[in-house]
């Protein structure tokens, strides 16, 4: 038995589903993209939407340029008669955190968490500049690749990596994605030209549309719904100062602190699903989480293989949980990030019952 005594209630991921991640989905509205994933994750448990205690979603209107788009995707859940529902303008990993808190309070025994990103209508590199400090930074329009490239150069200057090592990270993730039927990029992908040097195309995530959903359940409900629940034995999230020039970009103290609070370091992990949209960010996260060569990092291919913005973090938790469901992992760490250069970080520990 994993130690789930840290929190008031035992909570597990009991089901996970995701869409095929694709460069464009012009033929689908957001709800049309999300709905099949909701049906799949509910079907895994046999639950109907009306039987779910709490529903929470994560998305951002800025991606598709549609105001209040999450209210439209809620149509895919079946929200009448009224359900208990909430939304975060964040990656779905933070929606999962809210749902986990809701279950801890005893107000729900089950939760449906979903998130989606339809990046294809806009230019995600430009869109993400709108989350930056509006006084000193956003007026310069530094795009997401440029900011990641500053971090990559800082890592190279510090001697912690070089361009060849970064290329290997991209290649390894996409090779792993060959066994992931949902991935947007897999197999041998050319490293490509510089986007913003030192980052090349191969160091950057694909831009695409996708959705994911997870069902959480407490205690015996989880045991009933899932043969081998992925117990969330710890979860925590932290944020760093918003000014990039105040931070040591080669380190991620927020990830380390979140990991300490989630209990990552209290035992060995066999799997890590890291939300590292850029190859250089995997270097930072491995250091912060103390991962060595014995840990299988991003067996799904990670965000370098599919990065539906606002869903990619939830997918990391889902992929880690699915490995536990399948008996391929006993203790996994899942990580999600948001903001430039790993500004905000969420870390969860997932464990399966030992035979």
């Amino acid at each position: 038995m994993p130690d789930t005594t840290r929190h008031a209630r035992e909570v597990a991921v009991v089901a996970f589903a995701q869409s095929d991640h694709r460069r464009r989905t012009d033929e689908l509205s957001e709800v049309e993209m999300v709905m099949p994933v909701l049906h799949q994750v509910l079907a895994q448990t046999g639950l109907k939407a009306g039987e779910i205690g709490f529903t929470c979603s994560g998305s951002s209107d800025y991606l598709a340029g549609r105001a209040f788009s999450f209210t439209m995707t809620l149509d895919g859940v079946g929200a009448w008669p009224p359900i208990s529902e909430s939304h975060v303008e964040m990656d779905g990993a933070w929606a999962l955190y809210e749902a986990w808190v809701k279950i801890q309070t005893g107000e729900a025994d089950t939760a449906l968490v979903y998130s989606y990103g339809k990046s294809s209508p806009g230019s995600v590199r430009d869109v993400l500049t709108r989350q930056l400090d509006p006084y000193y930074v956003a007026p310069l329009w530094p795009d997401s690749v440029a900011l990641a490239a500053l971090q990559a150069q800082a890592l190279i200057d510090s001697g912690e990596t070089d361009e060849a090592a970064l290329a290997e990270i991209g290649a390894r993730n996409r090779a792993s994605a060959s066994s992931n039927p949902y991935a947007q990029l897999s197999g041998a992908v050319p490293q490509g030209d510089y986007q913003v040097a030192p980052l090349r195309t191969g160091d950057c995530p694909p831009i695409g549309d996708g959705a994911a959903a997870v069902i959480l359940a407490a205690g015996d409900v989880a045991r009933r719904l899932c043969e081998r629940p992925a117990w969330i034995t710890g979860i925590d999230h932290r944020i760093e100062a918003h000014s990039l020039g105040l931070r040591d970009l080669t380190d991620s103290p927020s990830t380390r602190i979140a990991a300490e609070h989630a209990g990552v370091f209290e035992g060995p992990v066999d799997t890590a699903e890291l939300h590292a949209p850029f190859s250089s960010q995997e270097v930072v996260l491995r250091k912060a989480l103390g991962l060595d060569g014995s840990v299988s990092v991003n067996p799904s291919g990670g965000a370098l293989a599919a990065n539906p913005v606002m869903a990619a973090g939830l997918i990391r938790i889902g992929e880690a949980a699915a490995r536990i469901h399948r008996g391929e992992s006993d203790r996994a760490v899942a990580h999600a990030t948001s903001g430039p250069c790993l500004q905000q970080n969420l870390v969860a520990v997932l464990e399966g019952d030992r035979a």
């Binding site: 709800v31 079946g78 006084y135 490239a149 020039g245 105040l246």
Partner: protein, 322 residues
């Protein structure tokens, strides 16, 4: 009723622009006014760290900080990235380096652009200086960019010096312009609806589970949470289920007030849609009034609805749709 066929994908450009008007507190006001005057200010934290650009609260202790200091207009690159393809609105239109620069006298770095001919002309540790914009308004873009420092630049500017932050005609706010370009595609269900409108037909979709007909369709039944796939033509006539009288003229709207805005349940539809009622004095519109759409030449949706002249619908017929 017809089964859905693969629609032609509709696309249209969608531009979202917003000028956010933001007020500045005393610290940000002093910093941006200083840039207008060619002076770079920072703040000193309780433990003596100088932060440039200045923040209002200590990121470690959360204590308010107000002690302004002047730092140099020269500094050192702490990290950089080469931007070979500048994007719209970025500081320079020619290839440039993004840089974090720690100005002389500061302990933290600021983000900006560095104008150099190529990536070989930039390195971490390089000495740079501010290039001021020709016209300055009190914004971060008053620094046009950084450029390589010349011999003699920055001599004697290594120490931060106290500054009262007082300037004549201080900048107290900025307008942060933003523009994002999208290509909007409405998806399968709304594509069918829009295609129907082009033939002056109103197309709804029926839920295969509860059989309600949604118009306009959004592709999902919010009650059952399943796709609505069966297309149904509804109307053209309908019934006013409820209404309001609008007395305030909206900007750019070419309709005289007062006018009536109503919920209209088109015949065969499972819920009401919105529309303006015309062709009848505003104070004679009533629940149950039977109406039909009026299309104008080239109109892509009904301009308004007018009475059909039929007797009013019985309340029991439409009460579930209010």
């Amino acid at each position: 009723m017809t089964a859905a066929s693969p629609p032609e994908i509709l696309r249209a450009p969608l531009v979202v622009e917003f000028p956010f008007t933001r007020s500045l507190g005393p610290v940000q006001s002093a910093f941006l006014t200083g840039l207008r005057e060619g002076v770079v200010l920072g703040v000193t934290t309780a433990d003596g760290k100088v932060m440039v650009p200045p923040v209002e609260y200590d990121p470690v202790t959360a204590e308010e900080i107000r002690d302004l200091v002047e730092v140099g207009a020269t500094g050192t690159v702490t990290t950089w990235a080469w931007n070979g393809s500048p994007r719209r609105s970025q500081p320079l239109g020619t290839p440039f380096a993004w840089v974090l620069v720690r100005l002389d006298g500061a302990d933290t770095a600021m983000l900006h652009a560095l104008d150099v001919p190529g990536p070989d002309a930039v390195h971490t540790g390089m000495r740079v200086r501010v290039r001021w914009a020709a016209e300055r308004t009190g914004a971060i873009t008053d620094i046009a960019c950084f450029e390589p420092a010349q011999p003699g630049d920055g001599d004697g500017a290594a120490q931060a010096a106290p500054h009262d932050g007082e300037f004549a005609d201080a900048v107290t706010g900025i307008v942060a312009e933003a523009r994002l370009d999208y290509t909007y595609s409405p998806g399968r269900a709304q594509t069918a609806y829009i295609a129907g409108l082009s033939e002056q037909k109103t197309i709804g979709e029926r839920c295969p589970s509860c059989h309600k007909v949604y118009v306009p369709p959004r592709g999902a039944c919010p009650t059952c949470g399943v796709a609505t796939t069966d297309r149904v033509e509804v109307g053209p006539a309908g019934t006013v289920t409820t209404y309001c009288i609008v007395n305030i003229k909206a900007k750019n709207l070419d309709i005289e007030v007062p006018y009536v805005y109503a919920h209209i349940a088109l015949d065969g539809a499972g819920l009401a849609l919105h529309g303006r009622i015309g062709g009848i004095p505003y104070d004679q519109v009533r629940m149950g009034l039977r109406v039909e759409p009026v299309w104008t030449d080239g109109g892509r949706y009904p301009d308004h609805y007018r009475p059909t002249g039929e007797p009013d619908a019985d309340y029991d017929v439409y009460k579930e749709l209010i």
